[in-house]
């Protein structure tokens, strides 16, 4: 059982603040690090993995600093985001080389076990240069599992995987977590994180915006004011009907459209077609005004 503890961690690159006063604890189980691109996820993972010094604050692995401390790699396995590997080697040679670098007692057996775990035995004798993106991802995964690390850090591991590979990786992460390991992976897709992570840490623009299980995060994200732009054959009548129905808390009438703000996302989208049908108003256009992930996240930060 191992824990990574970040205390008041900041990291800046010149004038750019990539991580801003982050405090979090990553314990056993699966933790999803969620945030839009550029939120500082890779920066945080780099600091946890000892590849980047925090500009301020401390990053500890079971009480020991991760910076300038190669001993942590007996405990940590890292799946880097970079696609580059040693392309002229076969998958087997590459995983075996990693086992040898860890100075394991039975490197061949360890390499075999790691390759089996990621279901790559069939392709292990092909050179890495010929692998698809998903296969590369799995062979990278095997290199980081070869020494059976207590902590596994994965940067965007689901990128480029097809749905079957995705499910396979999720199962693998679950089984690793069931052994009491600490697993942290980053992603910018909520749906990906919530199926597999026990705990979700949300990062937005370098800040630690929210923390909790998926129910809490999902609620934070859905129970916020949602804005819609609606065009219809009779805007004024529709606006009156929406207000009367009660699922929206603000409706404003513009020249050729209605702007609606609804606090209950589900209730409003169900009510709108019913209202339109009942009052015989034709809906011409319904557009969510701010459904991008960035706006969802920035709402969390502003809160």
């Amino acid at each position: 059982m191992s824990t990574i503890t970040l205390t008041d961690v900041s990291r800046w690159f010149g004038n750019v603040v990539a991580a801003n006063d982050v405090t979090m604890e990553i314990g056993p189980g699966i933790t999803g690090l969620l945030g839009p691109n550029g939120a500082g996820k890779t920066t945080l993972i780099s600091m946890m993995g000892g590849f980047l010094a925090p500009s301020a604050g401390t990053v500890l692995l079971d009480g020991a600093s991760t910076w300038r401390n190669p001993e942590i790699y007996r405990t940590i396995g890292i799946v880097p985001e970079t696609e580059a590997a040693y392309d002229m080697m076969t998958g087997w040679q590459f995983v075996l080389a990693n086992a040898l670098l860890h100075e394991l007692e039975y490197p061949e057996a360890a390499a075999n076990a790691a390759i089996d775990a990621v279901d790559m035995a069939a392709a292990q004798d092909r050179t890495i240069g010929t692998y698809s993106k998903g296969m590369k991802q799995r062979i990278k995964m095997a290199t980081s599992l070869v020494h059976q690390p207590q902590i596994l850090l994965l940067d965007e591991p689901f990128n480029g995987m097809d749905p079957r590979q995705r499910l396979h990786l999720m199962d693998l992460l679950r089984s690793l977590a069931a052994d009491g390991r600490t697993i942290l992976f980053s992603s910018h897709i909520l749906e990906e994180v919530e199926v597999v992570a026990d705990t979700i840490e949300v990062m937005v623009a370098g800040r630690h915006a929210a923390s909790g299980n998926f129910r809490k995060i999902r609620r934070l994200m859905t129970e916020r004011p949602h804005r819609y732009t609606v065009r219809s054959s009779d805007n004024r009548a529709l606006a009156a009907a929406i207000i009367a129905e009660g699922s929206a808390n603000a409706v404003s009438l513009a020249a050729d459209r209605i702007d609606v703000e609804a606090s209950d996302f589900g209730a409003f989208v169900h009510a709108l077609p019913r209202l339109s049908h009942k009052s015989k108003i034709r809906l011409l256009d319904v557009t969510p005004a701010d459904e991008s992930l960035e706006s969802v996240f920035s709402y969390l930060v502003a809160r």
Binding site: G38, T42, T43, I45, S46, G49, G50, F51, L52, A53, R68, P70, E71, Y73, R74, I76, G77, I78, P80, E81, T82, E83, A84, A85, Y86, M88, M89, A97, N98, L100, L101, H102, E103, T143, S144, D155
Partner: protein
């Protein structure tokens, strides 16, 4: 030293296209040596001239530049160095293992062909072969270590190395005497001058610095560069795709 890192480094050095490049340069050198012998009837003066102006000033620095930067630069550039760094191995061991492979390759592809070229082009009692062979061997160690360190510090290592080898040592060194004293080329030529005695001045084998000064500067530069590379690798920041 870590044998796995050494093997991986050798493999990536010799497996890439640059391997053809640094096999090409010694190849050209041997052809030039053959034609020098044919053109001068194996005159040692012509041999010394060819080794001095082509082998030592162009072939050796370029071979060392390609090998020294190639042993670590591409891995830092594409981020795959992470696989080596994320292991319970001291960064000094990683740096030195890679450096040893680079220097050995430079000795084989730089120093050995230069000694051979001396023997092929025409020598007198193996004097030039020994003189320039020794000089090139020292050069392989010093140049490769310096260029390796350059690659650990900057992504523009090849450009900076070229500027140093061709511009600083070649062009500026031709006009400003003080610059010559601060050139690896002059330091490694000091033992060559000593070995070629008493014919050194007849053949034009000369260095701007004395033997002991040259040797001391070579050792200091090499050790300092290796230490800097190891130190830099301890705090190198590797950030994924961002």
């Amino acid at each position: 030293m870590n044998p796995v890192i050494m093997r991986l480094t050798a493999r990536s050095l010799l497996g890439r296209r640059r391997a053809i490049l640094f096999a090409l340069l010694p190849g050209i050198l041997l052809i030039v040596a053959g034609s020098t012998r044919w053109g001068s009837s194996a005159d040692p003066w012509a041999t010394a001239h060819m080794l001095h102006n082509f082998a030592m000033s162009t072939v050796l620095p370029l071979v060392c530049l390609i090998i020294g930067t190639g042993a670590i630069g591409p891995e830092i550039e594409d981020g795959s160095i992470v696989y080596l760094l994320a292991k319970p191995i001291s960064r000094t061991t990683i740096a030195l293992s890679k450096l040893v492979v680079a220097v050995s390759t430079a000795l084989a592809m730089g120093a050995v062909p230069i000694a051979l070229a001396g023997a092929i082009a025409g020598d007198w009692h193996w004097k030039l072969t020994l003189a320039y062979g020794t000089s090139a061997a020292l050069g392989a160690v010093a140049y490769t270590t310096v260029f390796f360190t350059l690659a650990v510090f900057t992504r523009n290592a090849i450009i900076s190395g070229l500027i140093y080898a061709l511009f600083w040592e070649g062009v500026i060194g031709g006009y400003v005497p003080g610059v010559r004293v601060l050139s690896i080329r002059q330091w490694i030529l000091a033992p060559a001058e000593e070995i070629a005695m008493p014919q050194a001045s007849t053949w034009g084998v000369s260095s701007q610095v004395g033997l002991s000064t040259g040797l001391v500067l070579i050792v200091i530069t090499t050790v300092l560069a290796a230490a800097l590379a190891a130190r830099r690798l301890q705090t190198i920041s590797v950030r994924g795709g961002e």
